[in-house]
């Protein structure tokens, strides 16, 4: 049994399809690393209530918050310097804070925060939430006292939705189209294409009733002067993602649909030159018990039949699972480990549960 070793890493990003337990795995990896003596921050996105509880994140916890590890550290560990801080990403609060911090003036910040587009859409925009996770990540990574940041990510249809967020936002804020829409970013030659685009957008507004042109103008105009800061941080975030000390961990379950999706994630990450450290199959079936035990047991023949039947049922499911593993194994990038996180007997709800998951993750 080989363990997942994260000692050489400063950032671990858990990516994967929805519903596979990314948050659980992120929290488990963070606890495992903290228990081995590292100073770890884990940023979760939309965790289940029980995990919130386990990590002490009830209510608002948009800033890192120290998790008491007494229940998972052995007495011998107590002298070590491991620590765990957890936080829960609040994209809206992060965005608001950035706007307040970087806007040209308080009035400019107010104008952005009060704008219709910002109010209605900023928090709902998937891209903005992803980007805000990056902003927060830069903030966490900048703390020299932190050894490892474990990042849980929002469920995404595609792997790069999340990792691409900084580029997308910067492209939006810096685009020629946007400067044409009203942000004053120095003189530019306005082409016929731009004029046509603007006229068309105006026509779209009249038909749909959206009045987008003015709102987008106001929204983007408010960011005037902030663009360079966004661009600079996005560039740093992109560089950090590709850094040798950053490992992407793809989380999936053994279900056929999820495996197919995980394979697409892996392929996309490879194309984007991101370093996949491991693929973890969460909630893997535990080893099945020995059928010989049934025959040796001093129980009725009827009960033996029931036990055999139960074992056969589970063996069929296990066979289904191993087909999934084979499919995944054929798609593993070079240098990445295929790992299993066996299913707990019950849903993880406490720190010791998460520590148990961390300890049970092993290579397939």
């Amino acid at each position: 049994m080989t363990r997942l070793e994260l000692s050489g890493y400063r950032l671990a990003i858990c990516l994967g399809p929805g519903g596979v337990g990314k948050t659980t795995i992120s929290a488990a990896l963070a606890i495992g690393a903290a228990a081995s003596g590292r100073a770890v921050d884990v940023m979760t996105v939309d965790p289940a209530p029980r995990l919130l509880d386990a990590l002490g994140l009830e209510g608002v916890a948009a800033e890192p918050h120290e998790v008491n590890l007494d229940s998972v550290l052995r007495a011998s560990d107590a002298t070590r310097h491991g620590r765990l801080r957890a936080l829960r990403l609040d994209p809206k609060a992060t965005f608001d804070a950035i706007v307040r911090r970087h806007a040209a003036s308080a009035a400019a910040a107010d104008a952005i925060l009060a704008g219709r587009i910002y109010r209605n859409l900023a928090s709902a925009l998937a891209g903005v939430a992803d980007y805000m996770a990056m902003e927060k990540l830069l903030e966490l990574a900048a703390d020299p006292a932190t050894g490892l940041v474990v990042l849980d990510t929002p469920p995404a249809a595609e792997a790069l939705d999340f990792l691409d967020a900084p580029r997308r936002l910067v492209e939006l804020l810096g685009s020629r189209a946007v400067s044409l829409l009203g942000a004053r970013r120095g003189p530019r030659r306005v082409s016929m294409v731009d004029i046509a685009a603007r006229a068309i957008l105006g026509a779209f507004d009249r038909v749909t009733g959206l009045k987008l042109l003015a709102d987008v103008q106001a929204f983007v105009g408010g960011f005037d002067g902030m663009y360079e800061g966004f661009a600079e941080r996005a560039t740093r975030a992109s560089a950090m993602l590709r850094d040798g000390a950053t490992g992407v961990i793809v989380v999936t379950t053994a279900e056929a649909g999820r495996i197919a999706q995980a394979r697409e994630f892996i392929a996309a990450l490879e194309r984007a030159a991101l370093h996949v450290r491991a693929v973890i199959v969460n909630r893997a079936m535990p080893e099945l018990p020995d059928p010989a035990e049934i025959e040796r047991a001093r129980i009725s023949a009827a009960l033996k039949r029931k036990l055999r039947r139960n074992l056969e049922d589970h063996a069929a499911l296990k066979a289904r699972e191993s087909i999934s593993f084979d499919t995944l194994r054929s798609a593993m990038p070079a240098g990445a480990a295929l790992m299993l996180a066996p299913e707990l007997e019950h849903e993880p709800r406490t720190l010791p549960d998460l520590a148990q998951i961390a300890a049970s993750i092993h290579s397939a």
């Binding site: 685009s175 731009d194 779209f204 849903e347």
Partner: protein
Amino acid sequence: MALARLLFVTGKGGTGKSTVAAALADALSHKRPTVLADLDPRMSAAAMLLGAPLAGGAGARISPVLEVVALTARAELEAFMRRIVPVAAISRRMLGSRTFGYVTAALPGLEAFLLLERLRIMAGDAALEDRQVVVDAPASGSALELLAVASAVKGIAPAGSLNRIAHSVESFVRDPARFGVILTVTPEELAIREALELAAALREHLGVATVAAIMNRMPAPLFTRADLDAIAPLRAHHHLAVRRELERSAAHRARREFARAGVPMIELAALYRPAMGRAEITALGGVLAAELPAR
């Protein structure tokens, strides 16, 4: 007595949404021509289960009475543009324009909204031709967002065609004759709780009715309490047996809780087979068709 014209199948990730959607569409197609609309055509899991992988967002005909169509937000946006800007050259120009691309990218709600509008039109057409529509929808959280998008659009477009569409989409999802949600769930606490929460959120915030909860992968009864006591010394076997019976009791508790929420629960037996194929889908579909409550 009829089912809602369009059945919207959602549930926690991993609870067998696509399996249930495929089984349901397969079974209902024996009563009237059925369209299975796949909102995640990249994966097209439901189509794969029916034996017809979708190629590049196209549709597939499974049988003379069963068709799978892939719906993408982008295609809906394009269709919408063609409708409101009837001059093809101009709508093409808009779709190709970077400015417009940025604006729509900045408004993902718009694409989701148009997808919902498309479902409304499909349900309307299906009523005229007496067809059934089954939707393999996104997982719970995204499904709720999708269904809530109409009211968000009303907020950002106080007048004009989008506002009018928002009103009609809202009344569509609230009309039990046209729209019904099917929740998939497995006999695990987390999935059960998520399904109950989703049913409550749909009812309370959106006025959307849940037709049924499908308890998927329900283990067949095998061990009595006395059996479990007798095999206690066989630790690993005992463990496996207890687990099976725990799942059954979680499902029984869920049935009571769904009943309190006014949602009937249908059980689908766990299939202990190494692979899921057409035969398994047909078997599950048979159970669903027999037990689904009609209005």
